[in-house]
Protein backbone atom coordinates (compact mmCIF):
# COMPACT_ATOMS: atom_id res chain seq x y z
CA UNK A 1 0.00 0.00 0.00
CA UNK A 2 1.11 3.60 -0.69
CA UNK A 3 3.85 2.64 -3.14
CA UNK A 4 4.88 6.18 -4.03
CA UNK A 5 5.45 6.94 -0.34
CA UNK A 6 7.74 3.96 0.07
CA UNK A 7 9.60 4.82 -3.12
CA UNK A 8 10.13 8.41 -2.00
CA UNK A 9 11.21 7.14 1.41
CA UNK A 10 13.94 5.05 -0.22
CA UNK A 11 15.09 8.16 -2.09
CA UNK A 12 15.19 10.18 1.13
CA UNK A 13 17.28 7.46 2.73
CA UNK A 14 19.81 7.41 -0.13
CA UNK A 15 20.05 11.21 -0.13
CA UNK A 16 20.55 11.23 3.64
CA UNK A 17 23.39 8.69 3.45
CA UNK A 18 24.89 10.71 0.60
CA UNK A 19 24.73 13.87 2.76
CA UNK A 20 26.28 11.94 5.67
CA UNK A 21 29.13 10.73 3.46
CA UNK A 22 29.73 14.18 1.98
CA UNK A 23 29.76 15.87 5.37
CA UNK A 24 32.21 13.22 6.61
CA UNK A 25 34.46 13.90 3.62
CA UNK A 26 34.36 17.64 4.23
CA UNK A 27 34.96 17.18 7.96
CA UNK A 28 38.09 15.18 7.21
CA UNK A 29 39.50 17.40 4.50
CA UNK A 30 42.32 18.46 6.83
CA UNK A 31 42.85 15.12 8.55
CA UNK A 32 46.60 14.65 8.62
CA UNK A 33 48.17 11.19 8.85
CA UNK A 34 51.76 10.07 8.99
CA UNK A 35 53.27 8.85 5.73
CA UNK A 36 53.38 5.31 7.17
CA UNK A 37 49.56 5.20 7.33
CA UNK A 38 47.01 5.37 4.52
CA UNK A 39 45.36 8.75 4.03
CA UNK A 40 41.77 9.39 5.07
CA UNK A 41 39.71 7.97 2.20
CA UNK A 42 36.75 9.93 0.94
CA UNK A 43 33.47 7.97 0.91
CA UNK A 44 31.35 7.88 -2.21
CA UNK A 45 27.85 6.43 -2.17
CA UNK A 46 26.86 4.05 -4.97
CA UNK A 47 23.11 4.16 -5.48
CA UNK A 48 21.21 1.34 -7.15
CA UNK A 49 17.65 1.05 -8.45
CA UNK A 50 15.33 -1.36 -6.67
CA UNK A 51 13.73 -3.43 -9.41
CA UNK A 52 10.89 -5.89 -9.42
CA UNK A 53 7.49 -4.46 -8.74
CA UNK A 54 4.23 -4.85 -10.56
CA UNK A 55 3.37 -2.69 -13.60
CA UNK A 56 7.03 -2.70 -14.62
CA UNK A 57 7.70 0.22 -12.31
CA UNK A 58 10.67 0.07 -9.99
CA UNK A 59 10.33 0.79 -6.31
CA UNK A 60 13.03 3.27 -5.50
CA UNK A 61 16.73 3.35 -4.79
CA UNK A 62 19.09 1.93 -2.23
CA UNK A 63 22.71 2.30 -1.33
CA UNK A 64 24.41 -0.63 -3.04
CA UNK A 65 27.95 0.06 -1.87
CA UNK A 66 30.32 2.64 -0.52
CA UNK A 67 33.36 3.36 -2.70
CA UNK A 68 36.54 4.71 -1.15
CA UNK A 69 38.78 7.45 -2.49
CA UNK A 70 42.53 7.26 -2.78
CA UNK A 71 44.42 5.77 0.17
CA UNK A 72 47.53 7.29 -1.34
CA UNK A 73 46.29 10.81 -0.67
CA UNK A 74 48.85 13.45 -1.35
CA UNK A 75 52.08 14.15 0.45
CA UNK A 76 52.56 17.59 1.92
CA UNK A 77 55.63 19.14 3.46
CA UNK A 78 54.93 20.02 7.08
CA UNK A 79 58.20 19.60 8.98
CA UNK A 80 57.02 20.83 12.39
CA UNK A 81 53.91 18.60 12.42
CA UNK A 82 54.11 15.92 15.14
CA UNK A 83 53.25 13.22 12.56
CA UNK A 84 55.87 14.36 10.02
CA UNK A 85 58.39 11.74 8.90
CA UNK A 86 62.20 12.15 8.58
CA UNK A 87 61.74 14.13 5.34
CA UNK A 88 59.22 16.45 6.95
CA UNK A 89 56.32 14.97 4.97
CA UNK A 90 52.77 14.16 6.11
CA UNK A 91 49.91 12.48 4.24
CA UNK A 92 46.85 14.58 3.46
CA UNK A 93 43.57 13.18 2.15
CA UNK A 94 42.90 13.55 -1.56
CA UNK A 95 39.51 15.19 -1.06
CA UNK A 96 38.49 17.70 -3.68
CA UNK A 97 36.61 20.42 -1.86
CA UNK A 98 34.77 21.76 -4.93
CA UNK A 99 33.49 18.25 -5.78
CA UNK A 100 32.35 17.77 -2.18
CA UNK A 101 30.53 21.10 -2.10
CA UNK A 102 28.77 20.25 -5.37
CA UNK A 103 27.82 16.85 -3.94
CA UNK A 104 26.53 18.54 -0.81
CA UNK A 105 24.20 20.76 -2.84
CA UNK A 106 23.07 17.86 -5.02
CA UNK A 107 22.39 15.60 -2.04
CA UNK A 108 20.46 18.38 -0.30
CA UNK A 109 18.33 18.98 -3.40
CA UNK A 110 17.78 15.25 -3.80
CA UNK A 111 16.67 15.01 -0.16
CA UNK A 112 14.26 17.92 -0.61
CA UNK A 113 12.91 16.58 -3.90
CA UNK A 114 12.12 13.21 -2.36
CA UNK A 115 10.42 14.85 0.61
CA UNK A 116 8.33 16.84 -1.87
CA UNK A 117 7.29 13.53 -3.45
CA UNK A 118 6.26 12.33 0.03
CA UNK A 119 4.11 15.44 0.45
CA UNK A 120 2.53 15.15 -3.00
CA UNK A 121 1.89 11.41 -2.64
CA UNK A 122 0.27 11.98 0.74
CA UNK A 123 -2.06 14.58 -0.75
CA UNK A 124 -2.90 12.26 -3.65
CA UNK A 125 -3.73 9.35 -1.35
CA UNK A 126 -5.70 11.62 0.92
CA UNK A 127 -7.88 12.80 -1.94
CA UNK A 128 -8.47 9.16 -2.84
CA UNK A 129 -9.63 8.64 0.73
CA UNK A 130 -11.95 11.64 0.44
CA UNK A 131 -13.77 9.83 -2.36
CA UNK A 132 -15.12 7.29 0.09
CA UNK A 133 -16.48 9.94 2.47
CA UNK A 134 -19.99 11.13 2.18
Amino acid sequence: MFGALQTAHSGVRVARIWMDATSDNIANVNTVRSTADPAFQARYVVAQAIEGRTNGVGSGARVAAIRYGSAEGRLASWPDHPLADANGLVRMPDVDMSTEMTNLIMSQRSYQANLQVVRTAREAYQSALQLGRK
Binding site: L5, A8, H9, Y111, R122, Q126, G132, K134
Partner: protein, 143 residues
Protein backbone atom coordinates in the same frame (compact mmCIF):
# COMPACT_ATOMS: atom_id res chain seq x y z
CA UNK B 1 -22.80 -8.70 16.47
CA UNK B 2 -19.09 -8.16 15.75
CA UNK B 3 -18.13 -10.06 12.63
CA UNK B 4 -14.77 -11.06 11.23
CA UNK B 5 -14.40 -7.79 9.32
CA UNK B 6 -14.95 -5.69 12.43
CA UNK B 7 -12.48 -7.84 14.36
CA UNK B 8 -9.83 -7.54 11.66
CA UNK B 9 -10.33 -3.77 11.40
CA UNK B 10 -10.16 -3.46 15.18
CA UNK B 11 -6.84 -5.28 15.31
CA UNK B 12 -5.50 -3.21 12.41
CA UNK B 13 -6.51 0.05 14.11
CA UNK B 14 -4.95 -0.89 17.42
CA UNK B 15 -1.79 -2.11 15.69
CA UNK B 16 -1.50 1.13 13.73
CA UNK B 17 -2.11 3.18 16.88
CA UNK B 18 0.66 1.25 18.64
CA UNK B 19 2.95 1.93 15.67
CA UNK B 20 2.10 5.62 15.77
CA UNK B 21 2.95 5.74 19.48
CA UNK B 22 6.25 4.01 18.73
CA UNK B 23 7.13 6.65 16.13
CA UNK B 24 6.34 9.36 18.67
CA UNK B 25 8.55 7.62 21.23
CA UNK B 26 11.38 7.30 18.70
CA UNK B 27 11.17 10.99 17.80
CA UNK B 28 11.09 11.96 21.47
CA UNK B 29 14.30 9.97 21.95
CA UNK B 30 16.04 11.22 18.82
CA UNK B 31 18.98 12.52 20.89
CA UNK B 32 18.93 9.98 23.71
CA UNK B 33 22.32 8.25 23.81
CA UNK B 34 22.04 4.50 23.28
CA UNK B 35 18.41 4.63 22.19
CA UNK B 36 17.59 2.15 19.42
CA UNK B 37 14.50 2.95 17.36
CA UNK B 38 11.58 0.58 17.87
CA UNK B 39 9.47 -0.93 15.08
CA UNK B 40 5.95 -2.35 15.40
CA UNK B 41 4.81 -5.41 13.43
CA UNK B 42 1.29 -6.75 13.40
CA UNK B 43 0.36 -7.30 9.74
CA UNK B 44 1.72 -10.85 9.52
CA UNK B 45 0.14 -11.89 12.81
CA UNK B 46 -3.17 -10.43 11.63
CA UNK B 47 -3.14 -12.12 8.24
CA UNK B 48 -2.14 -15.37 9.98
CA UNK B 49 -5.12 -15.09 12.32
CA UNK B 50 -7.45 -14.41 9.39
CA UNK B 51 -5.99 -17.38 7.51
CA UNK B 52 -6.60 -19.66 10.51
CA UNK B 53 -10.18 -18.42 10.68
CA UNK B 54 -10.68 -19.07 6.97
CA UNK B 55 -9.23 -22.57 7.30
CA UNK B 56 -11.47 -23.35 10.26
CA UNK B 57 -14.44 -22.44 8.11
CA UNK B 58 -13.55 -24.68 5.22
CA UNK B 59 -12.16 -27.56 7.24
CA UNK B 60 -13.59 -30.98 6.57
CA UNK B 61 -13.68 -33.40 9.45
CA UNK B 62 -11.01 -36.09 9.09
CA UNK B 63 -11.89 -38.22 12.16
CA UNK B 64 -14.25 -41.19 12.60
CA UNK B 65 -17.57 -40.61 10.92
CA UNK B 66 -19.65 -41.45 13.99
CA UNK B 67 -18.47 -38.30 15.72
CA UNK B 68 -19.53 -36.04 12.87
CA UNK B 69 -22.34 -34.76 15.06
CA UNK B 70 -19.75 -33.72 17.64
CA UNK B 71 -17.78 -31.99 14.92
CA UNK B 72 -20.81 -30.04 13.89
CA UNK B 73 -20.98 -28.72 17.44
CA UNK B 74 -17.25 -28.14 17.70
CA UNK B 75 -16.89 -26.59 14.26
CA UNK B 76 -18.75 -23.33 14.82
CA UNK B 77 -17.32 -22.97 18.35
CA UNK B 78 -13.81 -23.28 17.05
CA UNK B 79 -14.66 -20.86 14.30
CA UNK B 80 -15.92 -18.37 16.88
CA UNK B 81 -12.67 -18.82 18.80
CA UNK B 82 -10.64 -18.11 15.67
CA UNK B 83 -12.83 -15.12 14.92
CA UNK B 84 -12.27 -13.71 18.40
CA UNK B 85 -8.52 -14.28 17.93
CA UNK B 86 -8.62 -12.09 14.80
CA UNK B 87 -9.85 -9.24 17.01
CA UNK B 88 -7.11 -9.74 19.58
CA UNK B 89 -3.96 -9.68 17.47
CA UNK B 90 -1.11 -8.27 19.52
CA UNK B 91 1.40 -5.95 17.90
CA UNK B 92 4.99 -7.11 18.32
CA UNK B 93 7.86 -4.70 18.88
CA UNK B 94 11.24 -5.16 17.24
CA UNK B 95 14.22 -2.88 16.89
CA UNK B 96 15.46 -0.95 13.90
CA UNK B 97 18.45 -2.60 12.20
CA UNK B 98 19.97 0.75 11.22
CA UNK B 99 23.56 1.41 12.22
CA UNK B 100 24.09 3.43 15.36
CA UNK B 101 25.79 6.78 15.63
CA UNK B 102 28.66 7.56 17.96
CA UNK B 103 26.30 7.99 20.92
CA UNK B 104 24.82 4.54 20.31
CA UNK B 105 21.50 5.92 19.04
CA UNK B 106 20.09 5.18 15.59
CA UNK B 107 16.92 7.25 15.22
CA UNK B 108 16.67 8.96 11.82
CA UNK B 109 14.13 11.73 11.97
CA UNK B 110 13.14 11.37 8.30
CA UNK B 111 12.40 7.64 8.67
CA UNK B 112 10.19 8.33 11.66
CA UNK B 113 8.30 11.25 10.12
CA UNK B 114 7.66 9.43 6.82
CA UNK B 115 6.59 6.40 8.83
CA UNK B 116 4.13 8.59 10.70
CA UNK B 117 2.70 9.88 7.41
CA UNK B 118 2.28 6.37 6.10
CA UNK B 119 0.69 5.14 9.32
CA UNK B 120 -1.69 8.09 9.37
CA UNK B 121 -2.84 7.27 5.83
CA UNK B 122 -3.25 3.59 6.68
CA UNK B 123 -5.17 4.52 9.85
CA UNK B 124 -7.53 6.74 7.86
CA UNK B 125 -8.05 3.97 5.31
CA UNK B 126 -8.93 1.39 7.97
CA UNK B 127 -11.12 3.91 9.77
CA UNK B 128 -12.98 4.53 6.54
CA UNK B 129 -13.54 0.79 6.06
CA UNK B 130 -14.92 0.63 9.60
CA UNK B 131 -17.13 3.61 8.92
CA UNK B 132 -18.53 1.79 5.89
CA UNK B 133 -19.30 -1.20 8.08
CA UNK B 134 -21.15 0.95 10.63
CA UNK B 135 -23.02 2.79 7.89
CA UNK B 136 -24.28 -0.55 6.62
CA UNK B 137 -25.38 -1.45 10.13
CA UNK B 138 -27.13 1.89 10.59
CA UNK B 139 -28.95 1.47 7.31
CA UNK B 140 -30.15 -1.97 8.35
CA UNK B 141 -31.43 -0.59 11.69
CA UNK B 142 -33.12 2.57 10.44
CA UNK B 143 -34.06 1.22 7.04
Amino acid sequence: MPDITMNALHSALSGLATRQRMYAKNIANVDTPGYVAGRVQFEEALSGAIRRFDKAGNRTYAGPTHSSALDRVQGPNQRAGFQAAVGRVKAATTHSAQGTRMNGANVNLDDEVIGQEQTTLAYQTVLQAMDGKFRLLRTSITG
